[in-house]
């Protein structure tokens, strides 16, 4: 099956800093998605992005499908951005999740 690698595994930022999270896939996927799991365990869908670039406020994502990777950009980070960021995808309809990037933003 498809393997999903995320980097870095952990990230510590001061409020206001920018960051880039990366997701690599071992094979082509057709339903790539980014999620944020907040400290209460809720999984929030950030982007559905099988290819191209999308932006939503301070967050943006880019997927280069031909090279099997995706990037999540967080600008001007806030303490509420803390949590775990997961990318997930597959070439079927289910999602295979990476192991996540744990982000801590300090004031």
């Amino acid at each position: 099956g498809i393997q999903v690698e995320q980097s870095p595994p952990d990230l510590i930022l001061q409020e206001g800093a920018n960051s880039t999270l990366r997701c690599n896939f071992s094979d082509s996927v057709n339903n790539l998605q980014w999620f944020h799991q907040n400290p209460w365990g809720q999984l929030i869908n950030l982007f559905y992005i099988p290819s191209g670039t999308k932006q939503n406020g301070r967050l943006s994502a880019t997927t280069v499908a031909t090279e099997r990777y995706s990037l999540l950009y967080i600008s001007s980070s806030q303490t509420t951005d803390s949590g775990v960021y997961f990318c997930a995808g597959d070439n079927t309809d289910k999602l295979i999740f990476g192991t996540g990037t744990r982000l801590q933003v300090f004031p």
Partner: protein, 113 residues
């Protein structure tokens, strides 16, 4: 409803008992997924329902696990003869169709004593 609803939010049971977990998807969503999240295994796919098609059961870890979806809406995940390794958070998601954004419920935290 406004979001995916799961019940119960927490379940504690003794080893060997059967448990049923419920998921109410977003109204109108034809696709429904079950995943589980545990410390050792991360987030893993269990089963997927799409409309009236046969479900994709490829992620179910053993024949003690089963799920059904009645009337194309509510789904129940059943675990028979629970084992301690079944302890995890069971998450349900729904989407408006295949290869569409998946939206997750808050999960059921299952603890097997």
């Amino acid at each position: 409803g406004a979001g995916v609803s799961q019940s119960p939010s927490n379940k504690v049971t003794e080893k060997g008992k059967d448990v049923e977990l419920r998921c109410d998807p977003i109204s109108g969503h034809t696709a429904l997924y079950w995943y589980r999240q545990s410390l050792g295994q991360g987030l893993e796919f269990l089963i997927y329902f799409q409309g009236n098609s046969a479900p994709d059961k490829s992620g179910l870890p053993s024949d003690r696990f089963s799920a059904e979806r009645t009337g194309g809406s509510v789904s129940t995940l059943t675990i028979q003869r629970t084992q301690q390794e079944d302890s995890a958070v069971y998450l349900c998601a729904s989407s408006s169709g295949p290869a569409r954004p998946q939206h997750f419920g808050d999960g059921t935290r299952l603890s097997i004593l």
